[in-house]
Amino acid sequence: MGRRISAYGLTFSLPMLIWQLLFFVFPLVFLIALSFWTVRNFRMQPDFDTVNWTTMYGRAIFWQAYGTTLALAAGAAVLTSLLAFPVAYAISFKLSDRARRWAIMLMVIPFFTSYLVRIYSWQVFLSDAGIINVMLGWIGLGPYGLLNTPGATLLGFVTLAFPLVVLLQLFSLIFIDRTLIEAAHNMRCGRLRTVFAVVIPSARVGLVIAALFAFILSFGDFVSPIYLGGGDPTTLSILITDTTKSGQQWPRAAVIALTMIVTLMAVAFLSIRFAYRGRK
């Protein structure tokens, strides 16, 4: 396990390294360069000008979108975590081994269905003549404008993140040492209290990481804000696509993308530090 470099080892290590450097790191680094380019007559020119940064950061709409996106993503992370926890808890602790295997398998299926199709499906449920309003109509209610609301955007985010959050929570709950729970019961700690005193602290890293993934997915998603939220209020991802489409303003889109990446990195760093706080 030394640090000797051999042709054999490099044969296996290098391809992934080279590929991801060329096609993952370079494009992201290129975004940085791109953000300093200028656009003249709908043509991009290599340059070193901070005009894109000052323009974007000077716009109220950018900061509004930033705030909206942050709030929606944080809301989605909290909401998804809260909704998912009882499911993950029940699957981990209340189901037989067989039922648990089935539950996990079923929860994996959504990953392999198109998110676009699922969002389109929610449109069918939420639209003014959609399934939910028709059903409400039967009992004399509605129709309500469910589509094109921030609530609908959140619904999309939850749809996107829910299966992943359940699975991540599940995997941190399943591996909790059962004797810790027994020990808590043994020391007069009742059912509900054990959840808060032992189960959640034991699974904290997994729970925080699950919420982090919900945040990351929602923060970058453009499908739900457009097709369920109706593009209003504008999120950063919508702003990127709009900026890209309008007059070759890719450098400005790069500014937004870089701001998003830095935000995501900061949130990831803070939440991982929070997850491991107090652990040495």
Partner: protein, 274 residues
């Protein structure tokens, strides 16, 4: 073998929890099932009560030459992507299993992070970068982008298998006179074969699904996410359900195949013995 003491159980709480689990699965599967149901619905605008049963949307899709073109390209891309991703993923998984080196954390981050970067940003970065190096717009660009996203999945699947391998297997082979290459060929690869096949299917499924519908609907050149955006607005049509259901069935077939290859310990044992 431990069973919970019934005195520690509360049937009302457990019943409520199980009911909640059922509701949660309904929530997860409602859009998937609805899409499936409406793909056979005759109405132009999907709602209830359902219109008559119809395969109209499947026929509409099947008679569209662009769709066939898209399918051909998707399959081509899927096969190439899965092979490259699995090769890269195997190398990275083996590197993680066997070697320790300075900067390994960074190496692993590079190998595993791409799927966590939002597709909008990846799309923008890729499009900008690849067009700069004259690679954008054709199938090659899609392959490159998909490998970036798929290879981490291949690595994860194979790394999991390697972690089940007795660390003394390889040294034992060297001890018996096998070179590193021979040990790789006769020990490591045979041991990982089910995972390698699994990785091929999983990556193909990811590639097939990622923007697959966009690919179908928007034809050949509209490939990356940024270019895809107009799609739902312009073409709200049950054809999406038909394509979605078709892709879903195909993807699930690939995954069940992968599961059969990965999930049966007896089968792998037999394979190792032979």
């Amino acid at each position: 073998m431990s069973t919970e003491n019934p005195a520690n159980r509360n049937p009302v709480v457990n019943g409520a929890l199980k009911l909640y689990v059922v509701l949660a699965y309904l929530f997860v599967f409602a859009p998937i099932l609805a899409s499936f149901v409406f793909s056979f619905n005759a109405d132009r605008f999907p709602s209830i009560p359902l219109g008559g049963f119809s395969t109209e949307w499947y026929r509409a899709v099947a008679s569209d030459p662009l769709v066939w073109e898209g399918l051909r390209n998707t399959l081509l891309v899927g096969v190439v992507v899965s092979v490259i991703s699995t090769v890269l993923g195997f190398g990275a998984a083996y590197t993680d299993y066997r070697y320790n080196f300075l900067g390994k954390q960074i190496y692993l981050a590079l190998a595993l992070l791409p799927p966590t970067i939002p597709v909008v940003i990846m799309g923008l970065a890729m499009l900008a970068f690849l067009s700069r190096v004259n690679l954008s717009g054709d199938a090659l660009a899609v392959i490159i982008a998909h490998v970036v996203i798929c290879s981490p999945f291949a690595m994860a699947v194979i790394r999991l298998r390697l972690s089940q391998m007795d660390p003394s297997l390889e040294p034992a082979a060297w001890n018996l006179g096998a070179s590193e290459w021979a040990a790789m060929r006769h020990v490591v690869i045979p041991f990982c074969r089910p995972a390698i096949l699994g990785a091929l299917f999983v990556t193909m499924a990811v590639s097939f699904d990622e923007f697959a519908i966009a690919w179908f609907v928007s034809g050949l050149n509209e490939t990356l996410p940024v270019k895809v955006l107009g799609f739902l607005q312009g073409q709200v049509s049950p054809r999406i359900n038909a394509i979605g259901s078709f892709v879903f069935v195909t993807t699930m077939t690939l995954l069940i195949l992968a599961q059969l290859l990965l999930g049966r310990p007896d089968a792998t044992k037999k394979e190792n013995a032979s």
